[in-house]
Symmetry: C2
Subunit: 268 residues, 2 copies
């Protein structure tokens, strides 16, 4: 009997993760891949807060449906609760943190809400962020800020997004001195709902998120890069059928990417 789980295409998987790993380790070097040369600047500055997992620290995931991922509203007040964390990347990253740091007394919350744009985060920031006194805040917001201009009658634009997002970050850093701030890049895949109408306009939102991370010295997680690489190994719909909402595989890729950046980029 052979037990050949790693035979054949196993090699391509190892190549995939190894390549991603090499990119992660290289930090800003991947900027040349995307042609966004300004990205290298971000890594040259120290971060504004300490990205670390401290004892009894509150960790907060914030965002839209991608973060929400079906989380229980009833249990939203319970830290580390499986149903309160939802079924997406935030839950997987949280579970990984709790496995990695079993003795830290971490309190992890997910407060993503489906459909949210940045101004809606602003409206609920007091109760759904500041009040929780997080030591680490991770934000993923932006896809609806553009998408809803196509399909939802939303009148905002990329300037609205940038203005609101900068104000939100400013407010967060003032209210929570020393907070570790993670800004995740909004992303799409060319599949399902995502067609040519999205480009190049959507790319501006991605660049705004990166420039805010840079200006406020937050840790930036380049999800678009992760998915751009992933589609070389499986079609877009393996990772996100409608191009916006990640599949289980897409969520696992995001959690892997998030943890790689948050846990290793800050290493000495």
């Amino acid at each position: 009997m052979t037990h050949s789980i790693h035979a054949g295409a196993g090699a391509s998987r190892r190549h995939f993760l190894k390549t991603s790993g090499a990119l992660l380790a290289a930090g800003g070097a991947w900027a040349s891949t995307t042609g966004e040369a300004f990205a290298a600047k971000a890594s040259a500055k120290p971060l504004s807060g300490k990205i670390r997992i401290a004892r009894n620290q509150v960790v907060l995931f914030q965002g839209d449906s991608i973060t929400d991922a079906g989380r229980s509203r009833d249990k939203a007040g319970m830290a580390n609760d499986q149903s309160a964390l939802g079924g997406g990347y935030a839950a997987m990253a949280a579970a990984g943190l709790l496995l990695d740091h079993p003795d830290h007394g971490l309190k992890i919350y997910n407060r993503g809400i489906s459909g949210n744009k940045v101004f809606q985060l602003t409206e609920r920031w007091e109760s759904d962020c500041l009040k929780l006194q997080p030591g680490l805040v991770s934000i993923l917001i932006g896809v609806n800020d553009f998408w809803h201009t196509l399909s939802g009658g939303y009148k905002g634009n990329v300037e609205t997004y940038e203005r609101d997002y900068r104000a939100l970050v400013q407010r967060t850093l003032e209210a929570l001195p020393g907070v570790g701030l993670v800004i995740c890049e909004p992303f799409v895949l060319r599949s399902g709902a995502v067609n040519d109408k999205w480009f190049p306009e959507f790319d501006k939102y991605r660049k705004v998120s990166r420039s805010i991370a840079n200006d406020f010295r937050a840790l930036f997680v380049p999800f678009q890069l992760a998915f751009d690489r992933a589609v070389k190994y499986a079609p877009a719909d393996h990772w996100a059928k409608d191009g916006v909402h990640p599949s289980a595989a897409g969520a696992a890729l995001m959690a892997h990417t998030w943890r790689s950046y948050v846990q290793h980029r800050g290493a000495p």
Copy 2:
């Protein structure tokens, strides 16, 4: 600025996973830890089916609430669907498989149902296992077979469990020649609902699951061992508040353990 995510207790975490890894690599050698010397026999026999991840293969997770973990019934027919996979170890292991093997066209289902005992798996085995034609079946069943004798008025005992479980496995191997079969050890932690009344009776159910795996040459995943080690790093309620249902951290530990055994134990 320092980014000291791995400072301090990071060392204990590395020790934890490194130790687990060493145990995993040692295979049957850990039997001496638990005193269950017969365990070493299991690793000496070839497995009945090929434990592998083949192209277009159906992978099925079966069990009780621990597997169920809030999965969507409406979407149960959709392979790889985030909500259909639930929020527990099965979803995390599935997402990991889909990330590791993006080009394999895997179809992964979760058909765990909360409260199930082994006879209830038997009742729905045709529609919830055989009909799906899985190439890999992972079963975790047994905690309710004992628990419900304490609190639910259930009249079965460990002989019932063994007889029904053996018949189920026999039927599976006859209906699906060459199927890769994974038998997961039922487990509890001394917390919440789990008190002295559980022992030593519950241990018999664990041993039955191991002996069935051994006799039918299935791959055995010793979850009790994983949790017995984990409680040295954090209290039982970090891993499973009521002693039965894993937390997010407990589910992540299970997914890590499952993937380590299923993916590496079979390696040359």
